[in-house]
């Protein structure tokens, strides 16, 4: 019997390569390529008056200097607005190189191509740009005040405005026995994968073809965008995502200016060209996320049940909106989490600022929404002097109410309907694991030693596996090797392993024989990309469906060969055999031979498929409704997203003098449906929690009023080390999704989502005063304590 691998902690197939230095990331390719470097704006808002390259021209090794004026055709047009939305009234995108105006520090103005990156940077240093420096708009407050405009054509700096209502929340709040209002704020952070972005392009002059590699989360998207920009037929462009050193959202945006410019330059120069983003560039010219300001009005009854919830929030979308308003759309819908307020109103305004553009960072608007909701629930509990978990439980959607329609439209344009989940069970498990009911004993034990501790809790629901679709291709070679391809890309999620697990089980073959390729448009040209915790759900199911096709075909062909009913056959360890009579069997690889009738014998196995060796002469060699080859391709396109959920609890100690927060325990209960590989899911949770801790206690983007990012390095952007991250205790619930064949839900973003909410809850619990802004540093917490004391 083939060992079932679905659900098992199978070790990763990608590891041996990666741990021995044999990975191939973007900058590991193209040693002979020319290098690009960019002159980027030092100003947040300015008009470019002049670009003087005179001093730069005699640098040995310089190949070319390009400004906006040099761009041709559609390359000179604004970059696409990828996700239009009716509420996005004033979407704006930039140009590959700045066209007269720069709108954030870091915007590319000049591209330099040289023999190597050192020389390219020398040239950049010698180019002189003169500017008319304009007053920038930095931060939500300034954007709202609108004394200055990011885009003169956009009134009040507003890119989008949206109001959604389920019931009459305002009336319900007015009539409610109790009311509270809260003002909340979350600061910017960023994905910060350890590998920055990068593009490498080769132009084949003879065949007029472009091959490009990008450190991207969507090679199909980049391919299409570049083909359009360069006015090339899609067939003449291939895009490959090589090993990618982390993404977390920033690499789903496309085309980045460099993804257009590098191929353009490669074609123009007829030389391979490469650009590898450095860390400073990543800080000032990639993307950030998270900054939102919320005002909440809530009305509730004596029991803490929410009767009306009215949320008004402002979202900082940076200088441009190429990725649309996905983030505030997600915030506005996923804010509700596992709760069912009797009525809900949400209004958001998305604002331009002269800062790096804002696109999804793991969690994508959910951390802010969860922060808002969970702060509200905690506030209700405090007001009513109820246990925080009791108020949560009273507002939970119950398992017997699933599927539950929340009456809103989700980010995929489809109704927001939770497919499954058991929130009370999750909460019970969390409370048990963290010892919620005994915490007061623990608190007094610590207090007796003069130590101050607190406990926090936060819940979330995450829509995962958003459409529109992904595809899968499965092929059995005559050697017995199984090739699997899917179009979406990988950045460390272990796709080569989990997809192989699915195929191994569906097809009945050893996992060692299965080889998965992702993110290569030559192997699978139709795909969307890896984001929104969708890869396992989308490609996993597509690959399962494709494998089932292969299995059906294999059984049919084997049935013909063995002269028996395909229904009596099974595939075990790569052998097709009769159930109960293992003497009648045929190897799957032999079936592959039979599937492809041949004229020419190029090896022993092929010989068996030649025209004088096989075939029923009464039928055509390939039956009319069949194709040669033992392979299958299928797509998975769900009606709706599937909703995973989880609950986190943290116990912290706060040092009395320095207000430093020490994490004593971090507990996660997580439900992402059926789990393909628990080891990998748990790894995703660990990594997510680390980013949650980072976002709550360490990381922020510190812009000054002139729009300079003051901490654009790993020295000052405080990405935590191992010493700052707790050990995660994780518990799993598996409520299968009824929506897809495998019953799975996404897990990629889960860990990060409740980070700010759970720490705010714990700090508030320890200190006794309200925490309304995150992240929070020891200095800020100490200052807050002082203010509270002064006000008291």
């Amino acid at each position: 019997m083939t060992t079932k691998s679905f659900g098992e902690p199978i070790l990763r197939k990608e590891d041996p390569r990666l741990v021995s230095g044999q990975g191939r990331y973007l900058d590991d390719l193209g040693h002979e390529a020319l290098a690009a470097a960019f002159l980027r704006s030092p100003h947040a808002s300015a008009r470019i008056l002049d670009i003087d390259v005179t001093d730069a021209l005699d640098v040995p090794g310089l190949i070319g200097i390009y400004t906006y004026e040099d761009l041709e055709g559609r390359v000179a047009e604004p970059l696409p607005l990828l996700i239009p939305h009716p509420a996005l009234l004033n979407g704006r995108t930039g140009y590959p190189l700045a066209n007269e105006f720069v709108r954030h520090v870091g915007e590319a103005i000049v591209m330099v191509i040289a023999e190597d990156r050192y020389i390219a940077e020398d040239v950049v240093e010698l180019i002189k740009v003169s500017y008319d420096v304009l007053q920038p708009v930095v931060g939500i407050q300034n954007a709202k005040a609108a004394h200055n405009a990011v885009h003169p054509s956009v009134p009040n700096n507003v890119s989008a405005h949206s109001v959604k209502e389920v019931g009459d929340a305002r009336a319900m709040i007015k009539a409610a026995p109790h009311k509270l209002s809260l003002d909340l704020f979350i600061e910017r952070s960023a994905c910060s994968p350890l590998e920055g972005k990068g593009v490498y392009a080769i132009w084949e002059e003879d065949s007029q073809e472009l091959r490009l590699w990008s450190s991207t989360q969507t090679s199909t998207g980049v391919r299409a965008a570049v083909a359009a920009k360069l006015d090339l037929p899609l067939q003449k462009v291939e895009c490959i995502a090589p090993d990618v050193g982390g993404g977390f959202g920033v690499k789903i945006m496309h085309p980045w200016p460099e993804e257009v410019l590098i191929p353009w330059a490669a074609r123009k120069l007829n030389r391979p060209v490469k650009w590898s983003e450095d860390r400073r560039e990543h800080f000032i010219s990639s993307a950030h996320e998270r900054a939102q300001e919320h005002h909440i009005e809530v009305g509730f009854d004596e029991e803490g049940r929410i009767l009306g919830l009215d949320v008004t929030f402002f979202h900082d979308n940076g200088a441009y909106t190429p990725y649309g308003i996905i983030i505030p759309l997600i915030t506005s819908t996923q804010l509700l989490g596992p709760y069912k307020p009797a009525s809900y109103r949400v209004e958001f305004t998305s604002l331009f600022t002269n800062t790096v553009l804002v696109i999804p960072y793991r969690g994508a608007g959910r951390p802010q929404g969860v922060f808002a909701m969970e702060r509200t629930v905690d506030a209700i509990a405090k007001y009513l002097r109820l246990d925080r978990t009791v108020v949560r439980e009273r507002n939970f959607i119950q398992p017997d109410e699933m599927p539950y329609d929340l009456g809103l439209i989700f980010q995929d344009g489809r109704p927001l309907e939770y497919d499954s989940g058991n929130f009370p069970a999750s909460m019970a498990m969390l409370k048990e694991m963290v010892g919620w009911d005994n915490f007061e004993t623990m608190r007094s034990e610590y207090a007796a030693q003069g130590r101050k501790i607190g406990i926090g809790v936060a819940c979330y629901v995450e829509g995962t596996g958003v459409g529109p679709y992904e595809g899968g291709f499965v092929q059995v070679e005559t050697s017995g090797r199984i090739n699997v391809a899917t179009g979406l890309t990988s950045q460390g999620q272990g796709h080569q392993t989990v997809f192989a697990q699915i195929v191994a089980d569906e097809l009945g073959v050893p996992i060692e024989d299965v080889f998965v390729t992702t993110g290569d448009t030559r192997r699978f040209p139709y795909a969307v990309g890896t984001f929104a915790s969708r890869a396992a759900v989308m490609s996993g199911n597509a690959i399962a469906l494709a494998a089932r096709q292969v299995r059906d075909k294999a059984l049919r062909l084997a049935g013909e060969a063995l002269e028996c009913d395909p229904h009596d056959l099974e595939i075990v360890d790569g052998i097709v055999r009769v159930k109960g009579d293992h003497t009648k069997s045929i190897a799957l690889k032999t079936v592959a031979v039979l599937s492809n009738p041949l004229r020419y014998a190029f090896d022993e196995s092929a010989k068996a498929a030649t025209q004088f060796a096989v075939g029923d002469t009464s039928k055509p060699p390939v039956p009319e409704d069949q194709e040669p080859g033992l392979e299958g391709k299928d797509y998975y396109s769900p009606m709706a997203s599937t909703f995973a959920n989880g609950m986190h609890a943290v116990i912290i100690e706060i040092l009395p003098d320095t207000a430093e927060v020490k994490i004593l325990r971090y507990v996660v209960v997580h439900d992402c449906g059926r789990v393909i590989n628990p080891m990998i899911v748990e790894g995703q949770i660990h990594g997510g929690v680390a980013q949650g801790v980072a976002g709550a206690l360490f990381e922020r983007m510190a812009y000054d009023e002139s729009g300079q990012l003051q901490n654009a390095s790993f020295m000052d952007f405080l990405m935590p080390y191992a010493t700052e991250i707790p050990t995660v205790e994780a518990g799993h619930l598996e409520t299968p999704s009824p929506l897809n064949p495998l019953g799975i839900k996404g897990a990629g973003e889960a860990g990060v989502i409740p980070g700010s909410a759970v720490f705010a809850s714990a700090i508030e619990d320890a200190e006794g005063f309200e925490i309304r802004r995150m992240p929070i540093s020891p200095s800020e917490l100490w200052e807050l304590r002082r203010t509270m004391k002064e006000n008291a």
């Binding site: 900058d27 350890l194 090993d243 997510g688 080390y721 991250i725």
Partner: protein, 167 residues
């Protein structure tokens, strides 16, 4: 502007004598990656914080991005490629990472592996806290470090049980 002066840099890398003529400003990380084409050593920040470029210089872990190649000509360098056993099987720390799911995207991994390799020579039986301290100069964005700490302890266990490690 004059062409840049070149210097002969000779290193013994993973046991092999290798050399190239490069400008004085060539960082050791770039020298290994682009001049010697040993791309296992990665560059994550180029200002010495992330640790992805950590290599062993005469056996001691150092940041490849904070050293000029010319300054260490004549030295012995070991990179992650050089920690594979002579028969091609994974070295013990590499194997421990695989077994403990100590990596996700794998970009930071080479710097961790070289650091831990050297650490375990000095402290073959670390506690969990010592393991945590030992990796506290390297950034990882994927794993949350939990399984990297586990990898350190697993590697120690493998060494104890006499698993082959040629380096």
């Amino acid at each position: 502007m004059n062409p840049e002066e070149l210097f002969l840099v000779e290193l013994t890398v993973n046991g092999n004598p290798l050399s190239a003529r490069v400008p004085a400003r060539r960082l050791l990380s770039d020298f290994l990656r682009h001049d010697l084409r040993l791309t296992g050593t990665h560059v994550g920040c180029e200002h010495g914080v992330c640790g992805a470029c950590t290599i062993l210089l005469d056996g001691k872990p150092v940041r490849g991005c904070l050293i000029f190649a010319v300054s260490v000509s004549g030295s012995n360098v070991t990179t992650v490629e050089g920690l594979v056993n002579n028969d091609g099987s994974l070295g013990v720390v590499q194997r421990a990472f695989h077994e403990s799911h100590g990596l996700q995207c794998g970009f930071c991994t080479p710097g961790f592996i070289t650091t831990i390799h050297a650490f375990l020579k000095e402290n073959p039986h670390p506690t969990e806290e010592e393991a945590r301290e030992a990796i506290a100069g390297n950034l990882c964005r994927c794993t949350g470090y939990q399984n990297i700490i586990k990898s350190v302890l697993r590697a120690a266990e493998l060494i104890d049980s006499g698993v082959r490690d040629d380096h």
